[in-house]
């Protein structure tokens, strides 16, 4: 590094980490910068957001964490995860905002472009809220809902049988484990685990998905979101 770094915010609410990682990858791939650190923290304003539901259901206020995260994006050093910038998904204007339309854009479209199917992805990381926090908060099990939607889409596409939906969810999803407020959103909490799994030779392709919300910014009523695929570096150490 020959000069001091600079920085900027990427504001995209719950989709921000994935937007930031795609942007960082594009900056490095273009040669603009050699290393980009993506870092972020929780929304302090959302601490205890569902306190009424938690107290009504007889549990403590569990949304009490200020989490942080940081990722270094840089040139392939043989031990990292490749961001497949040719396999990014987006939710374009006019695509429709049903769950199926969202996942068609974010998940299916980029895979189709590469001639891949939904079963060519070993693991999907969606919004990974811990259901132990969200269920007593009356918000259900968010990852499970999302994974079942993905499994249903795989059935509709003829890639799996209906009776294999549970197996799809178990094999290609995972239980939610992220703190909710203040949380690190989207699928990025999985990245460290993905790296470890790739080092063990247990994971060859994962998709990190974000569903965001322009409506949270009160800009429009539109949903936004992005996704990218990660794969092991060619010479990844397997220790």
């Amino acid at each position: 590094m020959t000069s001091a770094p600079t920085g900027a915010d990427i504001k995209a609410f719950c989709a921000a980490p994935v937007h930031a990682l795609i942007t960082a990858g594009a900056m490095v791939a273009s040669g603009l910068y050699q290393y980009v650190v993506v870092l972020g923290g929780a929304s302090q304003a959302k601490i205890g957001m569902k306190f009424r539901a938690h107290l009504r259901n007889g549990v403590p206020i569990m949304e009490d964490t200020l989490a942080g995260m940081a990722f270094v994006v840089g040139p392939d050093n043989g031990d990292g995860m490749k961001i497949r910038l040719d396999l990014t998904g987006k939710h374009p204007i006019g695509a429709g905002s049903s769950s199926q339309a969202v996942y068609q854009s974010l998940v299916v479209a980029p895979l189709e472009r590469a001639g891949l199917t939904m079963t060519d992805v070993d693991r999907y990381a969606v919004e990974m809220h811990n259901p132990e926090i969200t269920e007593p908060g009356d918000s259900g099990d968010v990852p499970k809902t999302n994974y079942r939607t993905l499994a249903a889409m795989a059935v509709l596409r003829g890639e799996i049988e209906r009776e294999d939906m549970d197996e799809f969810v178990a094999a290609r999803g995972m239980p939610g484990f992220s703190q909710t407020q203040g949380h690190i959103p989207a699928g990025v909490p999985y990245l460290g685990h993905a790296h470890a799994a790739m080092r063990r030779g247990e994971l060859s392709r994962a998709m990190i998905v974000a569903k965001g919300s322009l409506f949270l910014g009160r800009m429009t009523q539109l949903v936004d979101g992005v996704s990218f695929v990660i794969e092991p570096s060619e010479g990844m150490n397997k220790t």
Binding site: C14, T134, S139, V142, T145, S213, F215, Q221, V223
Partner: protein, 42 residues
């Protein structure tokens, strides 16, 4: 609950049942949706 002829305000959940889905349900019950939004309450 009979929604026929009623006016409905829809507040959907991004991680649950979203606004467009609730609109379809309400309109199938012959209600008139006067406002629809999808929030994220998770």
């Amino acid at each position: 609950m009979n929604l026929e002829g009623k006016q409905v305000v829809v507040i959907g959940e991004r991680e649950g049942v979203n606004g467009p889905s609730l609109r379809l349900l309400a309109e199938s019950a012959q209600a008139k949706v006067v406002f629809s939004v999808t929030q994220c309450f998770v």
